[in-house]
Symmetry: C2
DNA sequence: TAATTATGTCACTTATTTGAGACATATTGC
DNA sequence: GCAATATGTCTCAAATAAGTGACATAATTA
C-alpha cells in the first residue's frame, strides 16, 4: 500500500471516530492531500469506510493476538491484551464502534471471524479464571467484556485529553480493571 | 413546553447520540412529526441542538443533585449518583458527549456552572474518601472521574443492548466501580 | 358551532457534499 | 533528460439536506 493511501486511511479513521459523517473534504485535508487524490484511491465514501474497517480490524487483531501469545500466564495474557489495545489508540476506538454501532454496516465476514477468534481466546481466559474463583462470581461474561472495552477507551481518552500521562494511563487501566472484576493475582 | 416539542427533543437526543449529523428528516420521523413541524418549533439545527443540551443538562443535574441529597453517607451519595446517571440513559450519554467533544460547541455558561457544582460535589466526596485512605491512593482524581462516567455508559449500553437486565446492569456498575477504585465500604 | 391552534402536504430555493473529467505540475526511476 | 506515475487545480453535474411560503386538514376549546 502506498504511503498516501495509508495516510488517507489514518486520517479517515481519526475523523470517522469523532464523526462518522465527516466530509471527504475534511478527511483529505487531515491527510494533507486534495479531495481529488482521495477519490483516486477510493471510489467513494463506502470504499474508504470499508478499507478503514479492514485495515484497523487487521491491526487490532494482530496486536492483540501478538500480545496474547507473548506470555503463558493467563493473567499476563489479559494484561498484555489490554495494553496492546490501549496502544492502538484511535485504531481501537474505531474498531470498537464498528462492533457496537449498526450504522457502521456489518463487518466483513472473514475479518469478523478472525476477530471473534481473538475475542474467544480472551473470553476463554476470563471464563477459566472465573471458574477458578479468581474473578468475582457475581459478574457475567458479557459485562466483563464490555467493561474491558470501556476501560481501554477511558485510558485512551485520558491520555489523549492530556489529563494523564501515557504510562499512568495504562497502569491505571490495569489496576482499575483488576479491581473492577475482583481479580486475585 | 408542549408535548410535541418534548417529543422532538427526545427524538433528537436519541439520534444525535448515535450520530451528531443526523438529518432533521430522520429526527422528525423518529419524533413522529413532519419536518415542517420540527421547523416550526426550532428555527434551525443549531436551535434544536441548543435546546437538547439545555434540557438534558437540566435533567441530569436535577437527577444527580437529588440523588446526592437523598442520603448523608458519602459512599451512598456516590452510589445514588451513579444509579441516577444510569437511569437517565440516553440523556446522560448525550450530556457526556457535550462535555468530551468540542464539536458540540461550548455549553451554555450558566448550565455549565450548575453542572460544575454537581461535579464539584462529587469530586469533593471522592477526594475526601481518598484522603481517608478508603480509595486506592495510586489513582488520580481525573482518572476516577473519567472511569465513573465510562462505567455509567457501559451500564447503559449493557442494558440497552439486551446483554444484561436493568437491575443487574446497575448492580454490576456499582460493584465494578467500587472494585476499580479499591473502595472500602 | 365557530374560531383558534397545531400539524401536514406540496413546492420551491439555496447550500453543501459528492463524484468525475480535463489538464497542469511535480516527483520518481531509469 | 525522458517516460511513467502521482498529485493538484479548476470545473461542472448530480444528489442530498436545509429552510420557507402557501394552503389544507385535524384537533382543541371558547
Amino acid at each position: 500500500m502506498t504511503d498516501t493511501k495509508i495516510e488517507i486511511i489514518a486520517a479517515a479513521v481519526k475523523c470517522f471516530r469523532l464523526n462518522e459523517s465527516a466530509t471527504l473534504e475534511k478527511i483529505a485535508q487531515e491527510a494533507g492531500v486534495s479531495r481529488r487524490t482521495l477519490h483516486r484511491y477510493f471510489k467513494d465514501r463506502q470504499e474508504l469506510l470499508d478499507s478503514c474497517k479492514n485495515e484497523m480490524l487487521d491491526r487490532c487483531n494482530k496486536a492483540m493476538t501478538e500480545a496474547y501469545e507473548r506470555d503463558n500466564d493467563p493473567i499476563k495474557k489479559v494484561r498484555n491484551m489490554l495494553f496492546a489495545a490501549i496502544e492502538q489508540g484511535a485504531n481501537y476506538s474505531f474498531v470498537k464502534r464498528i462492533y457496537e454501532r449498526s450504522s457502521f454496516a456489518e463487518v466483513d465476514r472473514n475479518k469478523e471471524f478472525e476477530s471473534d477468534n481473538v475475542k474467544s481466546k480472551w473470553l476463554t481466559i476470563i471464563k477459566n479464571l472465573q471458574q477458578e474463583g479468581r474473578i468475582n462470581a457475581e459478574l457475567t461474561l458479557p459485562w466483563i467484556f464490555n467493561l474491558f472495552g470501556s476501560i481501554i477507551e477511558t485510558s485512551i481518552y485520558a491520555f489523549e485529553s492530556g489529563d494523564i500521562a501515557r504510562n499512568d494511563s495504562k497502569k491505571f487501566a490495569w489496576t482499575s480493571f483488576k479491581g473492577a472484576i475482583g481479580l486475585k493475582e
